[in-house]
Amino acid sequence: MSMKTSTRQVNGVTIVDCSGRITLGEGSVILKDVVRELLSKGQKKILLNLGDVNYIDSSGIGELVSAFTTVRNQGGELKLLNLTKKVHDLLQITKLYTVFDVKDDEASAVKSFS
């Protein structure tokens, strides 16, 4: 299953609901394009909802890191919401769990943006 995304706005925060796989090729490209488009529209508070993402490979991890640094470098914030156990474990072993701001409740995640 390839990756699909949809976006919605909640109190000035853009929530990107992702589903499928973020892997080398299409999945990583879709994520990159979504983030780039949001930034081009000035939407710099981004919450990636990964609740329906069941698989990420090293390229997908790289794309998450790239999205995180790109948004931060433009003065924005990118946070992660609803990690599945597989994705959570992957971020733990790569020591990225503490790099990303990871949330498990959408309402409090939205409030946490400055």
Binding site: T23, L24, G25, D57, S58, S59, I61, G62, E63, V65, S66, F68, T69, K86, L90, I93, T94, K95, L96, V99
Partner: protein
């Protein structure tokens, strides 16, 4: 565990990466690994295939990726070989080092080592061979030898 060997010769394409992952998932499942272990084995094979296709063969249509699965002596042994210039192990940075945490690449070999019991990397001027070993702890079922 029943002794068996399955081998594939694959093109240097993104489709190969997906095919390798799917084959690993199926064979690991047939070998009796649980779902979590199957996922780890399949991801290790995927990452090794990515290295072979991208960094080894560099998508060269004239170069192939060899993939073999062997169940022998209580182990699942997976060998991935490319026809590239040979991986330079000295140039692979530690992805857990603080200065590398925000790098967008360089985690493939680390994930492979994390998910498998043994990893043997043999670079040469004619390509790189990565041998992955997972010890079988659960019950296994035999499938007949096949080759593609």
């Amino acid at each position: 565990m029943t002794e068996q060997r399955v081998s594939y010769t694959l093109d240097s394409t993104l489709e190969t990466v997906d095919s390798a992952e799917q084959a690993a998932s199926r064979i690991a499942s047939e070998a009796g690994f649980d779902d979590d272990e199957v996922m780890r084995i399949a991801m290790a094979v995927r990452e090794a295939a990515v290295n072979a296709v991208l960094h080894g063969n560099a998508y060269d249509p004239g170069k192939k990726v060899s993939l073999a699965f062997e169940q022998t002596g209580g182990n699942l042994v997976i060998t991935i070989r490319d026809q590239g210039k040979g991986l330079d192990l000295e140039k692979i940075p530690d992805p857990l080092a603080p200065e590398n945490l925000l790098k967008t690449s360089g985690r493939g070999i680390f994930l492979i080592r994390s998910f498998m019991d043994e990893v043997h990397i043999s670079p040469s001027q004619t390509g790189t061979e990565i041998k992955l070993v997972k010890h079988v702890h659960g019950p296994s079922e035999g499938v007949k030898e096949a080759s593609q």
